[in-house]
Symmetry: C2
Subunit: 332 residues, 2 copies
């Protein structure tokens, strides 16, 4: 890795700004451009937007021109979680033969959930000799790639259970608002119906695990419920009466052909959780219980793994890849 | 994976027998041959040797003839931990264009410790369009691949510490004897000098971690000490006076160019250990402590990961690969 890898950051929201900061810390990467359509950001220096001293790299709203001018090796694409919305952006980037790392959750393992779009992106990547990878803390790592990888030391497995439990009280106010702290159960279910309150990707993670363990599934579920305050709760930000939401409890389940639940993914982010925790539990030979007490901060982890993926993606073969298709990603 | 992968088991010691049992459990694999030079095993049925009903696959002492007759896709090679001794066996197998999965610890990450042999094997693999991978519980997983993989969610890392702590009292007598339970400290250090008492691979694991984190090392250490009985210990197998060994405490260390210890791998297998445990500790952003209480049985894990590696190795590109070069291995 003697020559620096040229990177464009595409999407200057909070995640894009954090990734920008991480990109600028790496000796083997050079940030050569940035893209956003927001008129308030276009023309601004990408590092200044991220809260750092200027580096003389302005945000562009013309990716076509930018790609021709700076010829990046890799684009980090952080515009949306929605696969249909991101597809044209991906195809435009690929048409320049540029590799893509993206946080788009629905692309993390789309082969069962969106096979047509997955095939189209795979074809576009192959015909332009470029690689596309979606990754993040989850989907992409904690509830799919890590249990799959850990299963390598097992002779056999009967069930997989993964828990991500986050004490929302340890996180910033926008995170607490995002997971529904303080709202009524009516509002909560309205937001679930609007798809504005959910952790995207449990179904994708279930399919990755099942495929990698050779398990056929008859059914999957993704159920979002509020964690409800049994008693009033008072915090620096909230004064919550009993009966309102303290956060989200989302459970993804995969069932085998006999209707037995063999994969269970639980995502809890709420006030009043005693301790943040990542946990993987295998019923098998050997049985394994893996724990990360205190959990892993999802914002840091998602931005870090997208930056860490850049060298691996640059050297992977062409096509739409998922985390299990490529060589190991490390904090390089 | 509609067509079954044809496998030969090469080396019918305790590990080879256990791998045979695991191979026979997998629907997508078919055991088509076995090799050993021990006259007591040659001609015997491979499944019977492994304690199962016969499958009409006799152990051969003529691998050349066997490979021509059965044309396996993959050989599982479990003859020795010693890289110099295994090299001619590997080159013979490769000359038939056959992929190799092996438990040979010194081949797990040989690029710094044995670069000449590594380059020769890599060349032989490439010129025969075949893949070679060494893996096991360690080196190959717990103290190198898993921390490397976990680092993917980190923005930065300052130090890596990995502990494998095993209560030898939970393991069978041969394991207890192997780690020096009950012997004098003189005997212990004699066995260390003879290299009959050691966990092979800590140095290889240190180099894999350092390379994958972009860390330059000025020095590595691999120090083997006895765990000494402070008081007499009585078990079903042993009556141990104070002052004798209860097992092994082996520490591998990697130092940076300022002489700071940045990688610490501790392997303890002894009587009187309060609890078996796998632990990975990162000082970094985020700091992470990952634990597997009760630990992972090393014999099961090593045999399982070699069997689980077979499909991945069959589909990897040609050359000498390490765990970090290939797609994910899972319990398929």
């Amino acid at each position: 890795m003697s020559e620096k890898i040229k990177v464009v950051q595409y999407g200057m929201g909070p995640v894009g700004n954090k990734i920008t900061r991480y990109l600028l810390e790496r000796d083997h990467l050079v940030l050569v451009g940035a893209v956003d359509i927001d008129p308030a950001k276009v023309g601004k220096d990408v590092a200044e937007l991220a809260g750092l001293p200027a580096i003389n790299v302005p945000v562009s709203n013309n990716p076509e021109q930018l790609f021709r001018d700076v010829r990046p090796d890799v684009v980090v694409l952080t515009t949306t979680s929605d696969l249909e919305k991101i597809q044209p952006q991906i195809e435009q980037i690929l048409s320049h033969g540029i590799n893509i790392v993206t946080t788009c959750e629905e692309l993390a393992y789309p082969w069962k959930t969106n096979p047509d779009i997955a095939a189209a992106i795979d074809q576009a990547a192959k015909s332009n000799n470029a690689t596309v990878l979606s990754t993040g803390v989850n989907p992409g790592f904690m509830m799919d790639y890590l249990p799959v990888t850990l299963s390598a030391v097992c002779r056999n497995l009967q069930t997989v259970r993964v828990d991500r439990i986050q004490n929302a009280g340890e996180r910033r106010l926008p995170f607490q608002q995002k997971v529904g702290v303080g709202i009524t159960t009516d509002e909560f279910y309205q937001r679930v119906a609007d798809k504005t309150l959910r952790h995207v990707g449990l179904t994708e993670s279930i399919h990755m695990i099942a495929d990698m363990l050779g398990w056929e599934l008859s059914k999957t579920e993704d159920i979002v419920e509020p964690v409800i305050a049994e008693n009033p709760v008072k915090t620096p930000h909230f004064d919550i009466p009993a009966g309102r939401a303290l956060g989200v409890n989302q459970v993804g389940r995969g069932y085998d052909n006999n209707g037995k639940e063999i994969i269970t993914l639980t995502f809890i982010a709420a006030l009043g959780v005693p301790e943040s925790l990542e946990r993987i539990v295998f019923d098998g030979d050997p049985g394994i219980e893996m724990k990360i007490p205190g959990g892993v901060n999802g914002d840091v982890a998602t931005c870090a793994i997208n930056v860490n993926a850049i060298p691996t993606v640059k050297n992977a073969g062409p096509g739409l890849k998922t985390m299990v298709d490529i060589a190991a990603i490390s904090c390089f």
